[in-house]
Symmetry: C2
Subunit: 365 residues, 2 copies
C-alpha cells in the first residue's frame, strides 16, 4: 500500500455513485456497551441480517475485535469474510475509506481525519484513535493505495456522490465547529472538489432532527440516479422535522447539478417519531460518567438510510405504518433491484442506520 500525498483530481480519480457496481461492502461488528444495549446481542442479530442481505449480491467483509472474533465467525455464514481489526465502534461508513476510481477502473481509498463526529467540541466518544486508523488499514487489507487526507475531518456519511460531478452535503455537519473550524465554507468546498473530483457541491442546509452526527446527508437525502434524489419528508407541520425537510426541498428545487440538470426530488415519508424506551436506556453503560441516551429521547429514524447493493436495496423498517409505503417508493426508483427490509430499531438506537454501518467498495479491474 502506497500512502499518497497527491490529490485525486490531479490523478484522475473520482468518487463513483453508490449505485455503480461494487466489489463488496465493509462492515464493523457492534460491541461498544455505551452504544449497543444489553451486550449488543440484538444489534449483532440486526447486523447479521444486513450483512446477509448484502452478501446476496456482493462480498461482505466484517471487521471485528479480537474479543468478538469467535462470536462473529459463529454467527455469520461462511461466505462472509471476518477480519480482525480494532475499532472504537461500528460505523464503517464514517471511519472507513471513501473509495475513488479512475477511468482505467483502478480504485484507491481516501483516509480522511476522523474525530468521532465533532472531536472534543461535540464528538460522541473519546478516544477515537482506533477508528481513525481503520481507513488506512482497510486499504492495506485490500492492497489498495490510500490518499492521506487526515488533516481534513470528514465522515463517509457526510457526503453523497452522483458519480457525475456532483456531491451533496449538509451545512449543519460540514460547517459544524467540531469538524474543520479553521476552514471557510469556500475552502471546504474546494477540498471536496479536489478529493472527490467533482465540479459541484450541493449544500443542503440541514438533516434529520436530533441526528447526533450534526445531521449527516445520508440520513436525509440520497441519490437514486444522476439528477434524482429521495428526500426524507413529513407532512406534519407541527413536527420540527417539517421545517427542516422543507428547507432542504426548497434548496434542491432551485438548484441544478454539475451537468446543469434540475434535480428531481422524490419525497420519502418518515416513520412516526421513534423514541428511546426506559428499558433500552437501562441496557446501556454510561460513558464518561454520563448516560449516552435518555428515556424518551427522539431518535433520528429515516428510511433514507438505506444501502444500495449490487442487486438490492437494504432498507430499514421500524414496525411503522409507513414501512410499506417507503418500500414501494424505493421499489419504483430502483426497478432493477430487490428491496430487502431489515428490522432496524436495534441499529437505530446505536445512533445510525443501515447506510451508516456499511461502506461500499467499488468494483475494480
Amino acid at each position: 500500500m502506497k500512502i499518497l500525498h497527491t490529490i485525486p483530481r490531479e490523478d484522475g480519480f473520482f468518487m463513483p455513485a453508490e449505485f455503480e457496481p461494487h466489489y463488496g461492502c465493509l462492515m464493523i461488528w457492534p460491541e461498544r456497551a455505551d452504544s449497543w444495549q444489553y451486550g449488543a446481542v440484538a444489534a449483532r442479530r440486526a447486523f447479521c441480517e444486513v450483512a446477509k442481505a448484502i452478501a446476496e449480491s456482493e462480498k461482505v467483509i466484517m471487521l471485528v475485535s479480537f474479543e468478538q472474533y469467535d462470536t462473529a465467525r459463529e454467527m455469520l455464514p461462511e461466505y462472509i469474510r471476518v477480519v480482525e481489526m480494532s475499532t472504537d465502534d461500528s460505523w464503517a461508513r464514517d471511519c472507513g475509506p471513501t473509495f475513488v476510481k479512475n477511468k482505467a477502473g483502478e480504485i484507491r481509498g481516501i483516509d480522511w481525519g476522523f474525530n468521532a463526529w465533532g472531536g472534543l467540541y461535540d464528538g460522541l466518544y473519546f478516544p477515537w484513535d482506533k477508528d481513525n486508523k481503520v481507513a488506512r488499514k482497510v486499504c492495506d487489507l485490500l492492497e489498495k493505495d490510500t490518499y492521506d487526507a487526515r488533516d481534513f475531518i470528514l465522515e463517509g456519511g457526510a457526503i453523497h456522490s452522483d458519480g457525475e460531478g456532483t456531491v451533496m452535503v449538509t451545512e449543519s455537519c460540514l460547517l459544524s465547529k467540531g469538524r474543520n473550524p479553521e476552514l471557510t465554507k469556500e475552502e471546504i468546498e474546494q477540498k471536496l472538489k479536489a478529493y472527490l473530483n467533482v465540479e459541484k457541491v450541493l449544500w443542503l442546509p440541514c438533516g434529520i432532527y436530533n441526528d447526533e452526527t450534526n445531521e449527516h446527508i445520508d440520513n436525509i437525502c440520497a441519490f437514486t440516479a444522476p439528477g434524482e434524489v429521495v428526500l426524507a419528508w413529513t407532512d406534519d407541520t407541527k413536527d420540527p422535522q417539517y421545517e427542516m425537510s422543507k428547507r432542504c426541498f426548497d434548496y434542491l428545487m432551485q438548484e441544478t447539478d454539475a451537468k446543469g440538470r434540475k434535480i428531481l426530488v422524490h419525497k420519502l415519508p418518515l416513520p412516526s417519531p421513534v423514541y428511546m424506551t426506559e428499558e433500552e436506556c437501562e441496557g446501556l453503560i454510561h460513558w464518561d460518567g454520563e448516560p449516552t441516551r435518555t428515556d424518551g429521547e427522539r431518535l433520528a429514524a429515516s428510511y433514507v438510510n438505506f444501502y444500495i447493493a449490487n442487486k438490492s436495496i437494504v432498507m430499514p423498517f421500524f414496525g411503522d405504518e409507513k414501512d410499506e409505503e417507503a418500500k414501494k417508493i424505493l421499489e419504483q426508483l430502483f426497478p432493477m433491484r430487490k428491496v430487502v427490509p431489515v428490522s432496524a430499531r436495534d441499529i437505530l438506537i446505536g445512533g445510525g442506520n443501515i447506510h451508516c454501518i456499511t461502506q461500499q467498495i467499488p468494483l475494480w479491474k
Copy 2:
C-alpha cells in the same frame, strides 16, 4: 471461509515442499517483552531485514497488533502488506496455518491445535489463545477454506515435507508429553499421513541441543530437494550436539523415502556455540515471575533454520567463522536461488530463527 471437518487425504490435498512456488510469506511482528529484549527494537530491525529479503521474490504479509501497527507500517516498505491481528508472540511458522494443495492448484489451510510448545506441561508461555486463532484467521484473510485439526497439537516447525510423499519430524518433539500424550507414535503417524497426505514419516530421534521447542525438525534438518536434506553438524565430539547430530545422521543413512530413494545427507556445519549475555538477559521482562533466559544459557543456533523463498534462500548469520562456509553449501544446493544472509542473533535470542518466523503460502490457481 469454510471450516472443513474432512481429511485432506480424502479430499486430494497434500502438503507441498517449501521449495515449490509460493504466493507469499506470512510473518508476525515481534513485540512480546519476555521474548524480545529492550523493547524488541533490534528484533524489529532483523524482522524487517528478513521481510525485505523475502519480498524480493514473493508477497509478504506482516501481522501486527493494534498497538504496533503504526510502527510496523512505518518501518516496513510499502510493498509489504501490514495487517492487524492479535497474537501471543511472533512465530508464524508455528501458529500459522500449514497449507495443502490439490492437483487443480487450489490451496487450503490446516488449523492445528497450538499450545505454545507444550501447554501446561512444558509450554513456553500462557495463555496462548491468541496464537491458537491465527491459523483460522489467516485463512479467512486469504479467503481459503480451513481444515479443523485443533484436536491435534502440532506446529509448522515440527514438520518438513518433500512434496513427494515424505515428511520429516523429530521424536523428541512429536512424542513429547506436552503435545499429544494420549496418542501412540503409530497414531500420531497416522494423523500426519492423513492430514499431510504422505506415505512415509521419517522420525529423526532429536534436534538441536537446548532447543526449547522440544527440538523442532526445522532447526536440525531440512529438505533441499526430494531425496536430499541438509543436516546440522558439528565435528566437535565434546559438544553434546555431536551425539545428537550423529544419531540423526545414522538414522537417515539407513532410511529411504516414500519413493524408495536413499536419502542424500549434506552436512551443514553449526556455528560455534552461542550464549545469552548478561546484558541481553537484563533487556527482558520476567514471565510469570521467572526469567525467560539466563545469562550464559546456550541458544539453539543453526544454519538449517533458513527460509526458501521463490528466488532466494534467506539464511541466518551469527558473526561466526562458519557463516561463509554454510552459505557456500546452500549456494551449491540451491543453484537457482540467491542466498541472502541476515544477521540473526536478535531473532535467535527470542527462541528461534528465520524459518520459525516465516510461513510460506503456496501459489494457487
